[in-house]
Amino acid sequence: MAATAETVKELEKKQEWWWAAEKKRSRRLDYLRKAMWKKGAIGGLYPAGLQIDLERPVMQTEKAKELESSADPYVIKFAKMLAHVLDNKTIFITDRSQLVGYLGSAPNMITWDPTLAAILNHEVFNDPDSLPQPLDESLKVIRDVTNYWGGKSDLDKILPHMDLGDVMKVLSGAIGWGVPLGRGGYSGKDYEYIMTGVRAFEDIIEELDRRIDEADARSHRFDASREISDLIDKINNWEAMKITLEAGIRHARRYARLARIIAENFESDAVRREELVRVAETCERVPAKPPRTLQESLQYDLFIQLFSRNEAIEGAWPARPDFYHGPYYERDVNIRKTLTREEALDLVGEFLIRAAEVSQYKPKWAREGLQGIEGTWVWTLGGVKKDGSDACNGMTIALLQAARLVRVANPTFAFRWHPKVSDEVMRECFECIRQGLGYPSMRNDPVLVANAMHWHGHPIEEARLWVHQACMSPSPATKHGFQPMRMANATANCAKIIEYVFTSGYDHVVNLQIGAETPPVETLETYEQFFDAWVTQMKTIFTILVRPVNRARILAPKLTPRPFLSAVSERSVESGLDVLEPSISRGNAWITAFTWVENIDSLAAVKKLVFEEKKYTMAELKEALLNNWEGREEMRLDFVRNAPKWGNDDDYVDSIMLDCLKAASEFSHEIKCPSGNNWPILPENVSGNIHYANIVGALPNGRRLGDALYDGGISPGPGLDKKGPTAVLKSCSKIDHVTNGRAFLLNQRLSPTQLSGEKGYQLWKTYMKTWADLGIDHVQFNCVSDETLRSAQRDPEKYQEVIVRVAGYSAHFVDISRKTQDNIIQRTVQGL
């Protein structure tokens, strides 16, 4: 425990920010923070105490069986199954809370959706630690549920319609992760439709009724055409949407009733009784009607997020909370003064906690790739309004301050920097970074608005309304711009590109021919031929990953519809088409490029040591790599030490980065999503660099099988950027951050000592000015000393609350594997 006698000042001086936060936050926030169950996996397994919730799968299975012989089309059956869960799942209200709603039946429960994939269900069965006791009873339930959904799950339905070769390669897990599913990935929301206070569920239901009546009348005229036939599908979709919205309203009112029951029968404290009545009134109001207060607005948002996660596994949480809740904050705190700043901070802090505890059972690859967190809840702050003016407001500051008080690792923030951001807001961002949260990551708004227009043709007014679709990729939260589902399997393990050049596409880890059968590498006579082989492998891998996503998006409206997400999306309510229908979406696809920079350093090493200096033959190198450098340590070190490395402002290797990005971006314009738009690449990693460590073979940059890969994006290899922070920025600035790709992640470690005091802020501000002037789109910081991190490794119990930036997200240091911890410590600490 903390040395409780120490003052906040003393703790802050020692940079023990977590203990200081504990003393600074309100009693309510302190209680709620400590009552929260962390859901992120430790390494690859869920921590002790978390359990898989069997209530929901049983309900889904019962309802599915009941509906088997009904006359309903699938979309309505699915909506009824969702409604059944919302009407019957166990609900609870946490003591002292003002916001309600959780996916599971108890706070330590992780929900499992058995309708998605038989292979996921097998994982549940196999899970060594998270099954509720008594084990025999749990296993019986899991067995029954899994047996029912075998062959009926979304993935079972969709895979037979795919190119089967692609399926086998994707499911090997070697070149990408995830599966192409309409109900598993990153779901954006049409916030401009649903979160602007203009409408809520009852308004939409009214519109749906009107559209159903009109379509019904039209479809019964003396007429027969394709249009009339399509109206039947549309009516079904509208009815399904309506079922989910009505269920959402009923679900909220269950909470209202529960709050009143507790207030009237069980609560003796008068203040808490009043709070519970307010909770009840809030849940009677939203989501049925538009919110009027900050509490209603936050509750409304939370309900929408939870309903959507009852419908699908959502691995991300695209959001812009300051922009959409800001007007309510302003009204309550500054205009009507119905809330003090402290009271508002309590609500905002609780909103972060409610989001942090959301959890859905995910396969082990996802847990390893997102160690310590539940998903990439990267919330967007700052930025500009539709007209280009500064969008920051009181809520922006409240969120940044609340984050420092509750110190959850998830959600994290990404801040849209632009030249009009005030110094006050920049100082708040800096405080979060200095206090070791690892967030907000900083995004260069003018560059990214231009990027959204360049790659996907978003009009400027929509591009300005972008949110992070996952860790990094911008997507406008608008009618045609928002992305209903980004399927994670367009995530390339790019180190395989260079590996496959040496194996002619054969994967020695999963024992499959996956890449292109390029000529044996020892027969390549020039660097140009070698690079051509690299381009061929790159195109092959990207194609294998993208094709199933395209196919799944085309099949999804029929096979895996999303009636709730459709119901809160203007384009679906208007058209009667499922939200996943590509023809009503502008398209915002991207290929996440994990383990990208290994290619650059490897190509540079081969170019210099094999083709130019001729120190080694290609045959020698191939043999060394196939044998994992065994017996060739001296040669390996030559490839590590004597080949140029990215991130040192060295044109030799930086030009190779540009060549690779040019080839990839040209190809990005050739491959199209079903909406007809481009597939740009986006280099970043999350903790995929650790997940893939034993899946990627030895590489010419000197890496051995099993070594952690680089931490990702365009970040230099750990310890390989030897020429200081400006050299890193200069290397990164050679990339065109608008046309070379969708976004580029850059990790930097800064010294906490150097960032202390006003001088620290000024240093950081100067660094940020250079970063902005150079047109780099992203940077994120770790600001925790080696000493603290090593102490946390030695004594994890004492350092439970230390947070680090992994890559694209933050996590509590103790929740990530030793290998990931070491990888973060190895990153170069840059002196500014």
Partner: protein, 122 residues
């Protein structure tokens, strides 16, 4: 590259537990043989998942260790796909692995991690 035939896929997907007709029942997945492939040093877990899929580093496609006599194909390209709980009693290439990671919390070590409940005490 030629497209994969539906027969080939059916065979592979049976192992993967994917195809509607080939979904393995959980009862089968609960039977832990004396020599499960998951404990063999030549078993490579699928990199994607921990639902029990994997391939053999020695045996190639066309092998079948479940028949009597077993079929061992050592030449060829793609590996023989199987599952953690495939019975390797008849496999003469079987070599029991020594596990390093005992608790399963460390990740990215497919050859050594213990992820399935059924093998926990083995």
């Amino acid at each position: 590259m030629a497209r994969i035939s539906r027969d080939e896929y059916a065979k592979a997907s049976g192992v993967f537990g994917l195809a509607p007709g080939g979904v393995q029942k959980q009862e089968d997945l609960e039977k832990v043989p004396e020599k499960p492939c998951g404990l063999c040093r030549h078993f490579m877990e699928s990199a994607w998942s921990s639902d029990g899929r994997g391939s053999c580093k020695i045996l190639k496609e066309g092998s079948d260790i479940t028949t009597d006599p077993p079929v061992f194909v050592l030449e060829g390209k793609d590996g023989y796909m199987l599952r953690i709980l495939t019975d390797a009693t008849r496999c003469t290439h079987y070599e029991r692995n020594e596990f390093i990671d005992k608790d399963g919390y460390e990740c990215s070590d497919p050859a050594f991690r213990r992820f399935i409940r059924q093998l926990r005490d083995k």
